[in-house]
Symmetry: D5
Subunit: 98 residues, 10 copies
């Protein structure tokens, strides 16, 4: 199932610069892994904000929780999760495609 996930990382900007840079580097590595695994499907910057919004895919909330707490930035992040249900029209479109 899919989740809409908003991650605000403002608090990480209060870390000392070298600690923050190290955190960002580790965050990128983990982010790429989650993208490669198909968990982190799409994500965007919210313009002007120290936050991103993304579509995450996981079998259930436990798997999503595991993915989110694996982020190095998790202890500093404010995360909001919204469960998403498949829209009937999306299902119909998928059904008729070859």
């Amino acid at each position: 199932m899919d989740f809409l996930v908003r991650i605000d990382t403002s608090d990480a900007y209060e870390l000392p610069l070298d600690e923050r840079n190290d955190l960002i580097e580790r965050e990128r590595v983990r982010g790429r892994e989650l993208m490669a695994e198909g968990v982190l499907r799409h994500f965007w910057r919210l313009p002007g904000r120290r936050a991103n919004i993304g579509i995450w895919t996981a079998p259930d909330a436990d798997a999503l929780e595991e993915a989110l707490t694996s982020l190095p930035i998790w202890p500093y992040a404010d995360i909001e999760v919204t469960a998403l249900a498949t829209h009937p029209m999306t299902r119909q479109m998928a059904a008729v495609r070859p």
Copy 2:
């Protein structure tokens, strides 16, 4: 997985009395079915309000959506869903029980 679901049924109180009574009766029948199926696990009245709050169990958000839209009161209800993840302590307790 579990979901915390808050259902506000205030709008149903604007229906004519016989229509409302019929709706409540059909709602009870469907509610009992969902309880028997283990989908609607626990639920409570919010004292003084025309609303209830409950713990629902479904494989994913699609199955929950199907259950919620099957409620006769759905067209009149304001429903808020929060996805829940298993707490590590609950998992440990379950593991040590015979």
Copy 3:
């Protein structure tokens, strides 16, 4: 550019049943067109709610406004739009893919 768009259609449920059914049918037709044109890229039901959330793609806000007001449900819909910026990591991933 991409936009996160939340469309609440609760007010349409106050229409007489045949008017509502006609509206839903026309909405589906227009929705399929927008999906085919690549404007409406992904969308989901918010479980339990008479609302959907989607990712829309349009050159700018004028083109998005044109797409949204072309929806038959527009006069009854409560629509919230959030502009999205490309995330640097998405850009990097796209760059290294063949």
Copy 4:
């Protein structure tokens, strides 16, 4: 009676690491005791958040207050309590069960 209790522990993450680890360990011990006593009945993680939501059972608000302030994390926790009333349908189901 039952209570819905939301406990946000974000502030505890600002403690030095050893102090935090000690706190978490003591919190687990007290949590297990409250579960064994039947006060803390069910609880879940809110995915992505440093918070949990649970169903607590206590004779009244005084007994709940005593249980909540006995948590080692209490001085750092932001706690929201909602009183719950038995739903008539739950009562009926219990009555017909053997």
Copy 5:
């Protein structure tokens, strides 16, 4: 235990005048009964608003729910309930009084 209860009766002002007057009269009768029973302990008008705020006493949330839904105005009222715990200082004061 005690509860802080805020009752907003604005919706009742949309009833036809004679229906509203009849409702107010029945509400007063029920209110006096609840005061005599010691359930409705203190209550006040919120100046300028069609609302009151009161201290209610009931063994638990079920008994409070029963009292609140017995109000003739209940179907038109927006009611907010806050559970209250005894303050340690109030307990001490009571203990030393003859």
Copy 6:
């Protein structure tokens, strides 16, 4: 006249322990005086929160302000005041009592 007063003392929990204990002791002394003077009439803990809610009686807002700023905890407290008006039914009940 009466006032509903909500006092959140969370910020006092950031003081060093001995400073906080001293503050609490002085707060209790002043609280008892205000209770003896009939200014602080009733008050309760909000279960789980570092806050109390009370009914205060003072001739007007100036006298209430004087009482509230006399609290040792005032510089650390977040205080919300709601003016209350006598409810007509309370007045009638008082009139018929011997």
Copy 7:
């Protein structure tokens, strides 16, 4: 004592035109009386809104409630009251004036 009072009269705009005009005329008469009595001291339009904000003076909340419910527009008005305390600097200025 003084009160800050915000009166939103939007609902009155849903009345039939002649009923509304009659209401406005009676409201003006009552408003002038309250100004003459020194109860309604200053008031302003909130630009663009069907609302006004004013400084009202009354011995206590009971007297204010009496004045506000005497407004012909009261059944249609949404009224918010904030109790105000004399500022020490205002008191000093008044003391030194001849």
Copy 8:
């Protein structure tokens, strides 16, 4: 001085179609006049919403109130006004321009 003005016209969409069309036509005429007078300086649609946001210029709040209440749509509009002050940098830029 300048004002940021947000005008939500959703309520006008509940009028009968011919009444609404007539209102929109009159609104356009008045809007063009206010643009010609330099009162309505810039304005935009909020994409997807039945609302616009604009920069209005008027000597003071009285003149703005006069302009806003002259809009045919005023009785149906929800209007929010924010007073704006000249930014020091804007003033400097203007000073150095020929």
Copy 9:
């Protein structure tokens, strides 16, 4: 024109005591000047809060901004400004007074 201005000075209470006392003294001096100049017309304490609410008079928002930023407490203050328009009834009353 008049403005409703709410000034919350809570942050100033986090200054060292002598710095805070010095600030308060300078604030009083500046406050008296603004009162003498007719800019700060009326102001009140919000009972229990470290905040005041006042009626300020200035030709426009630029002049108000200049007055507010001249307050020594400005860097620590949270200030909310609402533009006020003359009420037609106030104008009429003024017109008929000798």
Copy 10:
């Protein structure tokens, strides 16, 4: 396309004075560049607040994000972005102008 951008710079006021002055100076230089490039079109102070509100013009959200993150104050700023669509009346006016 145009964006309404609100920038709150309160956090920068917690920097040491010389660091803050340096930041403000660099901010002014960058601000002038963005004005010269036609990106930052209009902006105003919100009276009394450490915040400004402006109209920014950029091809899309990516270009806006690039402009906003180029601001020296960005790491300390709280920025809210609203996408704006051309209003049909503005388009008509532009069309008829020579």
